[in-house]
Symmetry: D2
């Protein structure tokens, strides 16, 4: 458990509904595999059409799942009428993203009324081994009304 108390008891439904509205997550085949207050994991299978020039997962795909995982980790702690937008992120790509599937783990480091700072790590999994391929720091902003 993450130790955060959500302000919205229906946070899980709200996260799932918003995630489903992210057409790009459907395009790449990402799905939610952990959903707790302040903590979201997304899992993505390796697919040939998501690669860079050496057959590893493209850094943009890595960025997409670590960003959505962190964004929903933040969003899970928001008021029901607040929207979430990423204002900035920084990722260190530690190793080529090689593996059968990938798990992005977004975690809230510091919730805030306006800005929520998250960490997000991506692990590659292959034959039962788990390798950290990317780590990121991200800032999420809480907006009211239309983003």
């Amino acid at each position: 458990m993450s130790g955060f108390t959500p302000k919205d008891p229906d946070f899980a439904e709200r996260v799932r509904a918003s995630f489903q509205a992210q057409t790009f997550m459907t395009t790449i085949g990402a799905r939610i595999t952990l959903l707790e207050p302040g903590a979201v994991d997304l899992t993505l299978d390796r697919r040939y059409d998501l690669c860079q020039q050496h057959g590893f997962m493209h850094a943009g795909v890595t960025a997409a799942i670590l960003d959505s995982a962190a964004g929903y980790a933040a969003f899970s702690l928001f008021d029901p009428d607040q929207e979430v937008l990423t204002t900035e992120f920084k990722v260190n790509l530690l190793r080529p993203a090689a593996g059968a599937f990938f798990v992005a783990s977004g975690r809230v480091l510091k919730p805030g009324k306006t800005l929520t700072v998250c960490r997000s790590d991506v692990h590659a999994q292959h034959n039962g081994t788990r390798t950290l391929v990317a780590t990121a720091l991200l800032s999420m902003i809480a907006m009211r009304g239309e983003a």
Copy 2:
């Protein structure tokens, strides 16, 4: 012109061949629209299947085109036997990525034997107006042999 002299006279062919090997660029429909030594632009049309929850282009797609644009800007200055990998990048998302199409402009700020530092900006275009939606700093590493 960018002011850089490429070490490989066939840099343009090398960049185009590598770009074509990035299956993810084909998946999202990005194409090279400027290719000079140390400078690469990628253009991407707005597509419904590349969006986040509010219908704007997903930050991962923005990251993908700004990363590939910068990577190939760096790669254009490499020796013919060198490969390129992104080691890290940081992006500030300045405005929602709304527009008819998007242009990522990768530019080499500081070439180096090992590390090349680039800037990459993404502009949204709509009805003849051009809006900066994201700006990034990226580090690219030159590798010999298999990446």
Copy 3:
């Protein structure tokens, strides 16, 4: 000229008063050498007591002047009753910070009601030549009342 219109006609006095309250700027000997709406330059002489292990200026000193330059560039556009805090920054250190003096140029890229995004570059100067040693992206938040 930067093209920004300040909301506070007395922005220059407000910036200078706040800068003088930054004791660390006095400690290292930094001074304001350009002050326009959305644009602040700070100049710092090379000093033996501000170095890292090879005699170059310490990255923390480089960070200090690029952060204050950007912070005051943002602050110059704020309402008179708003305070400024840096929420995050990222710096690429392009070359060792060697030179007789250093100029940090903070520029507002995107002003905002809550967040203002800035770029800040540090150039080393020596015998009439000017070398870019660091480039940064920074987020500044506008706060009301006590920071």
Copy 4:
């Protein structure tokens, strides 16, 4: 223990000698309070002459200690003839740096022949409580000969 095996059995002496050569660390009064392979803590007392405009520790000072802590964490794993330089870092400033003293904890996340990626956290301590005020990701490069 960090789990890393140093290549140089005299890594601790090498780190201490290099740290002592960083005049800026003496200027601000930072000292090494933990030194293990891949892990270095620096401690700094709050001082009036290191502040920003609200009396909190200046972000440049926070950056200085988190950078040196991470740099020496990386350096502790290097060959005896290698030097260390920071190539880039990103810091999220989570809370104002208020406290009696500050501890920067640099930890190697991913060692490498050329690049070593580190995390570095700064905690403020006051009356027995410990608060995370900043978290950073940093890239360190191993150089041979003069940096």
